[in-house]
């Protein structure tokens, strides 16, 4: 382990690491754009200049390997002056459109300018004009003028997604990012280029102009899109969730996440949600509060068990809920109702082992491993054929379904619903309204439940790695978690004072939407 000195303090860093890594490890701030821990070293922004004793010229930290006894300095006047000038070089052709730039507020140039900027610009020439609003593909828009040509996106498509869509065209200050051979940037990882873009050159079509980033809060979470369980940051405000970005976890997702996972925020937002409980059947629905619906459903279950015995009810679980919820529901079902009829609904068994080689898996449930473990622990492992036989034999009078949170990944929704409808009663937990359920032919209880963003819990990913995540925000306060449903089913009252009630905090100019007409 070489011992080095940074700004007069001694550090010990691993053999073979670069000066840049040493700085990051030591937690010392150093300016950089083109260096990204997940990509190769390009060394083109020239911003990470450091002074190393014994070397006549300043060196870039990202491509210099540490040696024992190196004395490094990035706070001397020479380095400061250099960084100031190089930042100025970055800025001389950068347009001043921060007001309409989506990156404003989380922009590398803004941050660095505040820290290292030369506040007296001497550039008096006309700026180089390049193309704006270039459509790169279905997800990403490019603004070439804002681009500082760090080539992070190009390296990403070359090294990580290996799709090679992007390249730098032309030379000198006429260089522009573009798509090679007209092949659009259309892969499942394209939005990572937006994340790694240090400026606002690449913007996401999905998020573009929808919010200023300073109105958003962020919270850590786990992506529910597939069984990889990428660590994510959810950006939200009182109006709901706006976007999902990856969070670094080298053991799960590295620095990246897929575009499919990024769109999982959409069904969480209030306009896609089931807001109240619904009881009834096709064309005759009665709306009531979720808790009342659950209470009614619980009484119904008890009635059936008392009348026909514990084997007349069945529980179907999908891999979309947290380990805690499975546990509570199974305790109620197995210990409370003494039923052994618990089944695991696998939505696409033929694709369950698919893997695209990077992150995205064919198993589109975040917690398949979790539900399997929960069933094993409870000692119930019902076979799907048994359920089919029992249903068609009319032995089962009521089916409780912990339905999918994200219905779009359950292609067999209609088929399975028809199968469960053979029972007289159907109790279905769902976060979003479903056209299939609306057409339900038997007595159905639709109970709105909370999504992954609205509850704390644990998902077990494909590796068997248990990942805890906290509550992000509350979008439908009245919706229940499965644990709460189990509590209501077993006849207890919820403590309404302890539940998260409304959306946290107040949004800027929130009141304008709330008061309405006078």
């Amino acid at each position: 382990m070489p011992k080095i000195k940074i700004n007069g303090k001694e550090y010990e860093v691993p053999q073979g690491s670069t000066v840049m890594q040493a700085f990051h490890e030591a937690g010392i701030s150093i300016a950089h754009y083109c260096w990204h821990p997940g990509l190769s070293v390009a060394g083109v922004c020239r911003l990470c200049m450091v002074q190393i004793e014994g070397m006549p010229k300043l060196q870039i930290a990202c491509n210099t390997e540490v040696k024992d006894g190196m004395v490094i300095n990035n706070t001397s006047d020479v380095v400061k002056e250099t960084v100031k000038w190089i930042l100025d070089f970055h800025l001389i052709n950068h347009p001043l459109d921060c007001p309409i730039c989506d990156q404003a507020g989380e922009c590398g140039l803004q941050d660095h300018y505040m820290e290292f900027g030369a506040y007296n610009p001497e550039m008096a020439e006309d700026k180089v004009k390049k193309s704006k609003v270039v459509d790169l593909g279905p997800t990403v828009v490019l603004d070439s003028e804002r681009c500082i040509l760090c080539a992070r996106c190009v390296r990403f498509t070359d090294e990580v997604s290996k799709t090679h869509e992007l390249g730098i065209f032309n030379r000198g200050d006429r260089s522009e990012i573009g798509i090679v051979d007209g092949k659009p940037l259309n892969n499942n990882y394209s939005l990572n280029t937006v994340d790694i873009c240090p400026v606002g050159a690449l913007t996401s079509k999905d998020f573009r102009f929808r919010q200023r980033v300073w109105y958003l809060k962020e919270a850590d979470s786990i992506c529910p899109g597939c069984s990889t369980g990428c660590n994510v940051k959810v950006h939200y405000n009182e109006e709901g969730l706006w976007r999902i970005k990856p969070r670094v976890n080298m053991e799960v997702n590295g620095h990246w996440m897929c575009d499919v996972g990024r769109s999982t925020y959409k069904y969480v937002n209030i306009k896609n949600r089931l807001l109240s409980g619904r009881v009834g059947r096709r064309d005759s629905w009665k709306e009531m509060s979720p808790a009342s619906t659950a209470r009614m459903a619980g009484l119904k279950l008890k009635e059936i068990v008392e009348a026909h015995g514990p084997d007349s009810v069945a529980l179907v679980l999908t891999g979309q809920y947290t380990n805690e919820e499975y546990k509570d529901l199974l305790v109620y079902f197995v210990t409370g109702l003494k039923s052994k009829n618990v089944y695991h609904w696998i939505n696409n068994p033929e694709k369950i082992n698919d893997f695209d080689g990077l992150l995205f898996r064919g198993d589109r449930n975040p917690n398949t491993k979790g539900v399997e473990a929960a069933l094993k622990r409870a000692g119930v492992q019902g076979k799907w054929e048994d359920l089919q036989a029992a249903l068609s034999g009319g032995k089962i009078k009521a089916v409780v379904v912990a339905g999918p949170e994200d219905q779009s990944v359950f292609p067999d929704m209609e088929e399975k619903h028809a199968m469960f409808s053979q029972a007289e009663n159907l109790i279905w937990f769902t976060a979003c309204p479903s056209a299939v359920l609306e057409k339900s032919g038997c007595e159905t209880f639709q109970i709105p439940v909370k999504t992954h963003a609205e509850k704390a819990g644990t998902f077990t990913n494909y590796q068997g790695r248990e990942q805890k995540f906290p509550l992000v925000t509350t979008i439908v306060p009245q919706a229940l978690t499965l644990s709460e449903v189990a509590e209501i089913f077993s006849g207890k009252e919820l403590n309404w004072n302890l539940r998260p009630k409304s959306l946290g905090g107040t949004k800027n100019n929130y009141a304008t939407t709330e008061r309405g007409a006078l």
Partner: protein, 425 residues
């Protein structure tokens, strides 16, 4: 007087062909070299003190000894991408004596143990490319290239690669990128080409003149080669003289020859009635010398370095008093702006900025403080980038503005278009 070592037979048209070349002693050194120990050849080249003729002047033997001693395939690349404005010596060498280059390359390749070499010729050089291609074909037929050359057991293949005319591909790593089929952009160092170059294998890149000179070092021995030139800059060098002289052209003289002699004796001096104003001694990227300095300068690496300039590729551009330095700098800056590859920020933005400022000065829309700005910008571009193009743009800018400041100031002051614009405003 010229000292014709490399260019001895350049005046004979048949020297271009294999037969003619052999008539004047061609391919006589190769058998001798093939019998030598490769290490001995490297030692000989080291002892001769031969320095790279492409521009940087790095000792060739030392460069060769950087190759790692493992069994990896290694490549020899001949840099014939002669892009430096003012230089045209490699072109002459490839047109007149392609076999001389091939022989020199074969000896060098044998010394470093390379089985494959490429000659990277700039895109505009159609005729030289043709000459070299033809010569390689002839050499293959005569058994000087291919398997088991002259029964020595040494295999070697040679290929010609025509560039697309980018100046930056004359930089060794830029050339390697271009050869690999990538965009011609210099690569980060380290790793240096000698460790990881072409196709990530050890690679040696040498200039045409350097490789050709190797033949003569082996022929006559290092001591004989050292007789030419000075102690630290031994050997002869081709100088491409252009500009306001009576007889521009390529001249081979020993290093250390006074610049005065080259301009006034060999090239016949300036046009009658003209006065020497400045000389650029090593291609457009070398800092300019004033007339006084040019009179004192000797053409070797040390003297020019001492004067703050450099020998570069040996392109002497003579400027007399009929030229405007502002005009000249505008052209040079435009060249570097156009040729910057756009990888590193200081160079990409700096060359454009400099070009715009100088253009503004040239067209009379400038103030005196812009001269200081040129200096400031140039200083910040120096030594901050992957390759030396940024320095190559900054050095002439600084030297022009410093050494001819009064001319620039006069230009700014009495410029007609400026007064016009003021009247307009």
């Amino acid at each position: 007087m010229q000292t014709k070592l490399l260019t001895e037979h350049y005046d004979k048209p048949e020297f271009q062909t294999l037969e003619g070349y052999k008539k004047y002693g061609g391919y006589s050194v190769l058998p001798k070299a093939l019998k030598m120990d490769p290490k001995a050849i490297i030692e000989e080249v080291k002892a001769s003190g031969l320095r790279g003729r492409g521009g940087a002047g790095f000792p060739t033997g030392t460069k060769w000894s950087f190759l790692p001693a493992n069994g990896e395939p290694r490549y020899l690349l001949c840099n014939a991408d002669e892009g430096e404005p003012g230089t045209f010596k490699d072109r002459l060498m490839m047109e007149r004596a392609p076999h001389q280059l091939i022989e020199g390359m074969l000896i060098s390749a044998f010394a470093i143990g390379s089985k494959k070499s490429y000659i990277y010729i700039r895109g505009e050089y159609n005729y030289p490319t043709e000459c070299v291609r033809k010569a390689i074909d002839e050499a293959y037929k005569a058994g000087y290239l291919g398997k088991n050359i002259l029964g020595s057991g040494f295999d070697h293949d040679m290929d010609v690669y025509s560039g697309a005319g980018a100046y930056i591909c004359g930089e060794e790593t830029g050339m390697i990128s271009s050869l690999e089929g990538l965009k011609g952009q210099p690569k980060l160092k380290p790793p240096f080409p000698a460790v990881q170059g072409y196709l990530r294998k050890p690679t040696i890149v040498n200039n045409v003149e350097t490789l050709a000179a190797v033949k003569y070092i082996i022929r006559d021995g290092a001591a004989a080669y050292r007789k030419y030139g000075t102690e630290k800059s031994p050997g002869t060098k081709l100088f491409s003289v252009s500009g306001n002289v009576m007889k521009p052209g390529n001249y081979e003289v020993p290093l250390g020859t006074p610049l005065k002699d080259i301009i006034f004796d060999l090239c016949g001096g300036l046009k009658p009635g003209r006065k020497l104003k400045a000389v650029i001694p090593g291609g457009s990227s070398a800092p300019v010398l004033t007339a006084d300095e040019a009179m004192r300068a000797t053409m070797d690496y040390e003297c020019l370095a001492q004067m703050g300039s450099m020998l570069g590729s040996g392109a002497i551009i003579v400027i007399d008093d009929s030229n405007s330095m502002v005009d000249l700098l505008d052209v040079i800056m435009h060249f570097y702006h156009h040729e910057s590859c756009g990888q590193c920020t200081p160079c990409r933005e700096g060359t454009g900025w400099l070009s715009k400022i100088v253009h503004r000065i040239h067209h009379g829309r400038a103030e005196a403080k812009d001269l200081d700005l040129i200096k400031k910008v140039s200083e910040q571009m120096m030594g901050k980038t992957i390759c030396a193009l940024s320095d190559a743009a900054a050095m002439p800018a600084i030297s022009f503005v410093t050494k001819f400041r009064d001319e620039f100031e006069r230009h700014i002051e009495r410029n007609p278009s400026r007064t016009q614009e003021e009247a307009h405003a």
